[in-house]
Structure formats: C-alpha cells, structure tokens
C-alpha cells in the first residue's frame, strides 16, 4: 500500500506546476487549463484522504468540485470568446482597461 504522504507530495507538485502555468503563460486558454490542473491536484488530495480515513465524504466533495469546474470552464471559455471578439487577442497582459 502506498503511504498517504506520497499522494500528498504528488498532489502538491501538480498544484505547483498549475501555478506556474497561471503565472507565466500568456494565453488565456492555457491559463484556464492550468486552473483545471490545480483543481485536479486538490481532487487527488480529497480522494487520498477519503481512502485513508475510510470516509465517503471526500468522494462526494470531489463530485461537487467537478460540477463547479464544469461551470467554471463553460463561463470562462464564454468570457474568452467574448474578449477575443473585442480585442482579437488572447494575451492577458493586454487586458488592462482598469489599469490606471
């Protein structure tokens, strides 16, 4: 049986990789994909704890995280489409209308 710490360290590594993607990429679609990666790292933590504590609650929480992630992806992609129509660009650094 693989110890719990291994799952947690793997999940921390995937989360950190997702953070790198959100910070350094200059394409909104890839930023959204990195956020999905971070959500999945957290899901892995929930499932590992659910297995090691013998409780179903972790799996139920993962179910809800998936529903919220689906909603987030749909609305995020709709916003990206609408932004692309106005600016012809996917670079988040060009979106500084509120910058003073």
């Amino acid at each position: 049986m693989v110890p719990l710490n291994h799952y947690l360290i793997l999940s921390a590594a995937i989360f950190a990789i997702g953070v790198v993607g959100v910070v350094i990429r200059r394409n909104l679609i890839v930023v959204l994909m990195s956020i999905e990666l971070m959500l999945n790292a957290v899901n892995l933590t929930f499932i590992a704890f659910s297995r090691f504590l013998g409780s179903m609650e972790g799996q139920v929480v993962v179910f809800f995280v998936m529903a919220v992630a689906a909603a987030e992806a749909v609305v995020g992609l709709a916003i990206i489409i609408s932004v692309f129509r106005h600016r012809q660009s996917l670079d988040p650094q060009e979106m500084q209308l509120l910058k003073w």
Binding site: G18, V19, V23, I29, A71, I79
Partner: protein
C-alpha cells in the same frame, strides 16, 4: 518494493511529465492533449484509491466533455501566433512555484500520516455508497450544484452570443 508502489511511481512520473507538458508546450492544441493525458492518469490514480465511480466520472466529465469544449474554443478562435518564448513574468512565476512546492512538500512530509489505512469494505467507493451519501447527507449541496449548472448554461449563452444592434 511492492507492485502497487511501482504502479504508483510509474503513474506519478507520467502525471508530472504530462503536467509539465501542459504548462511548457507552446502549441495550444498540444497543451490540451497533454491535459487529457494528465486527466486520464489522475482517473487511474482514483481507481487505485478505490474510487472507481469518481474515476469514471472524471473520464466522462473532464476528459470527455470539458476537454472537447476546450478544443472547440481553440479551433473556433484559431490563435495562430505562438506566444513569446519567455514573458516578463517567467522568473517570478518560477520563484513563486518553487517556494510553494517547497512549502507544501515540507508541510506534507512532516505530517503524521495514518500509515495503516482503513480496511476498505466491498461497498467503499461503489456507486451505491456514493449515491447514498449524496442523496441523504448532501441533498442541499446537490440541489445547489444543479442550480449552479443551470446558471452557468444561461450565462455562457448570454456571454458568447453575438451582439446585434
């Protein structure tokens, strides 16, 4: 080293590799394909943790529905220009991620983890037990999630609709 450990290390190495490919590939479609691979590997990890139902949902919802949506948007917008190789925030992003990974790893490895896990019964992770806790203890969050999905559908249609003057 037991066989389950070897399977875990193989899956973990492939997962880290595909996650790095999601972040560091310059072609967006390649990023999406690497993300599909990462989601499949996470689903396999779920199955090894006795969460078969959640693993199947992961493949159906994430690798199926959400990634198809991503690919549709990529094809629709067709961003032809490759982004610059290193933006201004490259060093900053690396520093933040290294600090975060170090802090999380230190926190996690010092923690006293339950080494001997709960002996899983036959029903653990089965659709029956997931449905039972979903429809008894978590009925209200379940209904709220359905309302949230409805709002997301309406919001996406309103946002992505072409404006007519």
């Amino acid at each position: 080293m037991t066989s389950s450990m070897m399977i875990f290390y193989l899956l973990a190495a492939l997962l880290v590799l595909s996650s790095l490919m999601v972040v560091f590939q310059r072609n967006v479609v390649h990023c999406a394909m690497a993300l599909v691979a990462a989601l499949f590997l996470i689903a396999i990890l779920f199955v090894t943790l006795q969460a078969a139902m959640v693993g199947v949902l992961q493949i159906l919802v994430y690798a199926g529905a959400i990634m198809v949506l991503f690919l549709f948007v990529i094809m629709l917008l067709n961003p032809t220009a490759l982004e610059p190789r290193r933006g201004l925030s490259w060093g900053f992003g690396m520093l933040v991620a290294l600090l975060l990974a170090g802090a999380l790893a230190a926190l996690v490895s010092h923690n006293e983890a339950p080494a001997d896990p709960f002996a899983a019964t036959e029903l653990f992770g089965a659709p029956e037990s997931l449905a039972k806790s979903l429809f008894t203890d978590f009925v209200l969050p379940f209904e709220i999630a359905s309302v949230l999905l409805l709002i997301a559908i309406v919001g996406a249609v309103v946002l992505a609709k072409r404006e007519h003057n």
